[in-house]
């Protein structure tokens, strides 16, 4: 049983791995932590403190989970003397009132490096990054369907269930990037990064409109909608998985597909930084400006706006209809309705190339460093980021250097409308290694135990689930710090006063 479950999980993970997509996600708490190389993602015009060479596949790993739909702990109450929790339906409905989204983003840098040039006025970095994305958007009416049905007309708006904006999106891509950061003078610096994109797999279902109207008197249905499904690199994979015949050759083909990809594209990241004085810094940046042209194994299905009425079986047409053959008749009806829907929707199918955009992210931010010459260099940062199609993100940050070895940022903000939360990033230097850890949601620590006590005779089986963490983002990395020498080999001059404070990362990086 365990083996079978493991197999299922493995298949699911493989599907997810092969099918994920889109937006590279980085912890916002790293925006002002310039000790970490990942700091470059948020401020491409800002120099990190060190050059680096990442350990393969370990230099930068990030996972971001979004869940605005399922937080059971917020739907339940349980008083001290109650043996069972109470499901609060009003809370449940309120939770589902807003757009509901489940998403997962994973990114990992296979190779990553960064090096200073021209007396540290330029910084060049590059790498290869795997990006996976999977998301599903669930309309409120779809989630509430079990509690409203389609025929409780007191609860329905205009007797209709609105499933519009139902969407599923999975994408997997590989990015080969090379960036150049330049300090033009004491005030201005800029950053540019070119990304060559290899699309590995793509699947996207989007329903721009889907309504299920039920007549209040006759209970007839009218289903109207318009949608689109486009895939690349998924069709053959699904066929393989469906065939249940995955042999060595098949696995090799899957692996080959992971290397070659099915699409290509370009994207750029641009940023500029302005320091009017040592205390203030302003920056603006855009990431992921570009897209992918999906060329191989493509399938696109598009429907015209369609409206289908269902009035039940036509007894006159269904000759010989009997209750005994009702199941067959219903199957016949369902097939007929599917055919009718297909005809009316006028589905157009083609295998033409299609393009997708990464979804540009625009950022504005500032940092105030009241004591720029202090060795602990405290600062306050603020940043706003906006990704197309998602609510604006913002984050404020308290940043502090802890000697040469550590820098931290405690942050507070909101990410893509997923509610306010605390975040933190730590960059820690141990000899030649530089560790980075960041998380954007303190709520991920708050978990709830759900004790299942169905029969009261069985042992209690518990499920643990985050209490209310709409967003969980964890980013980790370890790199080799360039220019590091051991303390035994260093020839420190004997100092007679306080050590010289660590300069700012942007003004005078130190090795």
């Amino acid at each position: 049983m365990k083996k079978e479950r493991s197999h299922r999980i493995l298949v699911a993970l493989i599907c997810l791995w092969f099918g994920s997509h889109v937006q590279a996600q980085n912890a916002h708490s790293l925006a002002f932590n310039d000790l970490s190389p990942q700091h470059l993602e948020m401020q491409i015009a800002s120099q990190p403190q060190f050059g680096f060479l990442a350990l393969p596949a370990l230099g930068n790993m990030s996972i971001s989970l979004s869940n605005t739909a399922f937080h059971p702990a917020t739907w339940l109450t349980q008083s001290d003397n109650a043996s069972l929790a109470t499901l609060e339906l009003d809370e449940l409905f309120a939770a589902w009132e807003n757009p509901n989204r489940l998403a997962m983003d994973i990114q990992a840098d296979l190779i990553q490096f960064g090096k200073f040039f021209k007396n540290k006025r330029s910084f060049v970095h590059g790498g290869i990054r795997e990006v996976l994305h999977a998301s599903i958007d669930l309309p409120s009416d779809l989630l509430r369907l079990l509690f409203t049905g389609n025929a409780n007309f007191d609860l329905l708006d205009q007797d209709a269930l609105d499933f519009s904006n139902l969407g599923i999106n999975v994408e997997h891509r590989r990015t080969f990037y090379l960036g150049w950061q330049r300090n033009w003078n004491q005030k201005w610096s800029s950053g540019l990064r070119l990304n060559y994109l290899r699309g590995i797999r793509k699947g996207e279902l989007s329903m721009s409109e889907l309504n299920w109207h039920t007549d209040e008197s006759t209970w007839d249905w009218t289903i109207s909608g318009e949608g689109m499904l486009q895939t690349s690199g998924m069709w053959s994979l699904m066929q393989l998985l469906d065939s249940q015949d995955i042999d060595q050759n098949t696995m090799q083909r899957i692996r080959d597909g992971l290397l070659t990809g099915v699409g290509s594209g370009l994207a750029i990241d641009l940023g500029g930084e302005f320091r009017p004085n040592p205390k203030w810094m302003l920056f603006a940046q855009v990431n992921d400006l570009g897209g992918i042209n999906w060329k191989k194994d493509t399938r696109s299905f598009r429907s015209q706006p369609v409206s289908v009425d269902f009035n039940g079986l036509d007894w006159n047409a269904a000759g010989g209809w009997t209750a005994a053959s009702a199941v067959d008749s219903l199957e016949y009806w369902a097939m007929g309705m599917a055919e009718e829907l297909s005809e009316m929707a006028n589905f157009s199918e083609n295998a033409a190339n299609f393009q997708t955009r990464l979804g540009a992210v625009w950022s504005l931010g500032s940092e105030f460093t009241p004591w720029p010459n202090a060795s602990w260099k405290p600062s306050l940062g603020a940043m706003m980021r906006k990704r197309r199609g998602l609510p604006m993100s913002w984050r404020s940050s308290w940043n502090q250097q802890w000697g040469k070895r550590m820098k931290t940022a405690l942050t507070y903000g909101s990410r893509e409308g997923l509610g306010p939360n605390l975040g933190m990033s730590i960059a820690l230097n141990f000899g030649p290694l530089l560790f980075t850890a960041a998380a954007d949601s303190y709520r991920m620590f708050n978990w709830t135990e759900f004790a299942l006590d169905g029969s009261r005779t069985q042992p209690v089986d518990s499920i643990y689930w985050p209490t209310n963490a709409p967003s969980i983002h964890i980013q980790l990395g370890v790199v080799l710090r360039m220019g590091w020498t051991s303390s035994q080999r260093r020839n420190f001059p004997k100092s007679e006063c306080e050590p010289f404070a660590v300069p700012s990362s942007t003004s005078s990086p130190q090795f």
Binding site: P72, A73, L76, T77, Q78, S83, L84, A85, T86, L87, L89, D90, L92, F93, L145, L146, F147, T148, G149, N150, A151, N152, L155, T214, S217, T218, W219, D220, W221, F310, N311, G312, L313, D314, W315, N316, A318, W371, A374, S375, W376, P378, Q400, G403, L410, L422, M424, Y442, R443, F445, N446, T448, E449, F450, A451, D453, G454, S455, R456, P499
Partner: protein, 570 residues
């Protein structure tokens, strides 16, 4: 502690940050715990309801009537309404039999003195020709006069005995009997061999012969005799004769043209079962305009009258003779204009020409009808009749009952035997306690274009056919009433729309099976469903008639809704 500097603010912030971090982690790790179980209470209301349209159908009156395939339905041409038709055959035969001719003729040609003397003095081998014209008259039964005849069989023969001692050649020409377009001729050659008398004969077939008879007095065959005598040198005595015997035998007449005499011919006697009428309850069903339609097709050239002996409806209780002008003044079936054509006649016997009326007679619930009488040939003694062996008289009829009238309290019952309780319990495994189901509603939406209201009663019965529960009791008496289509009763019977549905009526009926009823049904020993459908036309109690038209539509739509109530008492 080079790591932690000594800036005054830093001295304050560092512990604060550390504390915040620790507190954050500690707070984050604090668990909530909820106990979940099957009996978990739910606060708030959620009453999901799922509705679906199961199906719909439209039935015209015509479609409904077609389902009763044991009965024949037609369209009443006069009103356009639907009509029950019970056809029957009354008669199919020649109106009268054609005659068979078996007639004979004897002729004697006797020599007078002068002829005998002349023949005696005729030199040997010299010839003398004699010519005579005779007519052969006889009568054909049932014909007052004959204009012509068609014959399809028969033999015409001539037998001659002569005591004239001469060779003789005798030719008989029937000038008004034709075969192949020419008169029929018989030739007899007789040679005298010294013995007297001596004989000769000839035979000819009259198959496919035609006869034309110009005289009005019976049938007269015109015969021309041509006798050639050749002298043998022997003396011929005065009074010597030639005896001729002509026979026309077995001559089948295939067509006779002339005037047929008035006479009765074929008797007919038809008993038509009427099983439906036997169970007719006149208090529940009234047909306003029944009728009997008689169709006659006459392919002979003879008008045929019908003389009724009995036109009646009978049952075990009695016999109801129908009189009235439609019976007593039954029209003459006309003659066909020409051979090969037919004359048609339709006669309708309806309430307006019968006494008692057909409606009254039918409401006596007869089990059959008796039609008995004779055919009267050429009752008006018309001339120029004809009759061939293909002439027939066909009379059939139909009892026609247009669906015009009223009905009330008509009940149709059926019992569906099924162990419902046990089957339901078996089907619901594990047992469904209907905890979350508040009710199951079946919605019937009827658009009734028929002039017929319907009341449905559904009862659950046990093994002894005793009613143990009734849906109508639970849902109210009026819950399953489908109103009839709207009829304008103010219109007169002559109006085109008299009794017709002018507007369809919509009725919405909900059969609601609540949780309590369902659980009760599961607990009962229900072994069947009894369905009683009671039908009635609008305003039937006042005798208002309606009419059913084949295109009248009845549309029924069935939808279902399951309403759930997942709010539980805590």
């Amino acid at each position: 502690m080079k790591l932690f500097s000594t800036h005054s603010l830093q001295r304050f912030l560092n512990p604060l940050c550390g504390t915040l971090f620790v507190v954050t982690c500690m707070l984050g790790c604090i668990e909530q715990r909820f106990e979940l179980g099957e009996d978990m209470p739910i606060s708030g209301e959620a009453n999901p309801a799922f509705g679906i349209s199961l199906g719909s159908g439209t039935w015209t009156v015509q479609q409904a009537l077609d389902q009763v395939d044991s009965l024949h339905w037609d369209l009443d041409q006069a009103s356009g309404s639907a009509m029950f038709v019970r056809p029957f055959e009354l008669l199919e035969s020649p109106p009268i039999e054609l005659p068979l001719i078996n007639e004979g003729l004897d002729e004697v040609f006797e020599l007078d003195e002068a002829t005998a003397y002349a023949l005696s003095n005729l030199p040997e081998a010299e010839q003398l020709s004699l010519a005579y014209e005779t007519s052969w008259t006889f009568e054909l039964p049932s014909m007052d006069s004959v204009d012509s005849l068609w014959l399809d069989q028969g033999i015409l023969s001539v037998f001659i005995t002569s005591d004239i001692p001469m060779d003789q050649s005798i030719q008989l020409i029937c000038t008004n009997l034709f075969a192949g377009g020419t008169p029929i001729v018989l030739n007899v050659e007789m040679e005298y061999a010294g013995q007297l008398p001596f004989e000769g004969s000839a035979v000819v077939s009259t198959a496919n012969a035609r006869g034309i008879f110009p005289n009005d007095d019976g049938l007269e065959v015109m015969c021309d005799w041509d006798i050639v005598l050749e002298s043998s040198g022997t003396h011929v005595n005065e009074g010597a004769s030639i005896s001729i015997e002509v026979q026309w035998q077995d001559a089948n007449v295939s067509g006779a043209f002339g005037k047929f005499g008035s006479q009765t011919s074929v008797d007919f006697n038809v008993a038509q079962p009427l099983p439906l009428l036997e169970v007719w309850d006149q208090d529940q069903l009234h047909f306003a305009d029944p009728r009997i339609r008689l169709n006659a097709r006459n392919s002979s050239g003879i008008p045929i009258g019908v003389q009724w002996n009995e036109f009646a409806f009978i049952s075990n209780l009695g016999t109801w003779d129908i009189g009235g002008p439609d019976i007593t003044e039954f029209p003459v079936i006309p003659a066909a204009n020409s051979v090969g054509s037919s004359a048609q006649m339709v006669h309708v016997v309806d309430n307006s020409g019968t006494s008692p009326t057909l409606s009254e007679a039918l409401e006596m619930r007869p089990d059959s009808a008796i039609l008995r009488g004779q055919l009267v040939v050429n009752p008006a003694s018309e001339s120029s009749n004809f009759l061939t062996n293909e002439s027939t008289l066909e009379i059939d009829g139909a009892l026609e009952v247009p669906l015009t009238g009223w009905g009330m309290g008509l009940t149709w019952r059926d019992t569906l035997r099924e162990k419902i309780s046990s089957e339901l319990n078996a089907a619901i495994n594990p047992p469904l306690d209907w905890q979350d189901v508040e009710s199951v509603a079946l919605r019937f939406i009827a658009e009734n274009g028929w002039p017929l209201g319907m009341d449905l009663q559904v009862s659950f019965i046990d093994g002894d056919d005793l009613t143990i529960d009734s849906l109508s009791e639970n849902s109210g008496a009026e819950a399953f009433h489908i109103a009839a289509g709207q009829v304008d009763h103010s219109l007169g019977s002559a109006d085109l729309h008299y009794g017709r549905v002018m507007k369809r009526t919509q009725t919405i009926m909900d059969i609601v099976l609540t949780r309590d009823q369902a659980t009760e049904l599961l607990s009962l020993d229900c072994e069947g469903i009894e369905i009683a459908l009671t039908l009635g036309t609008p305003d039937a109690q006042n005798g208002s008639s309606v009419r059913f038209f084949p295109e009248d539509e009845f549309e029924l739509k069935l939808s279902a809704r399951v309403s759930c109530a997942i709010t539980l008492e805590q």
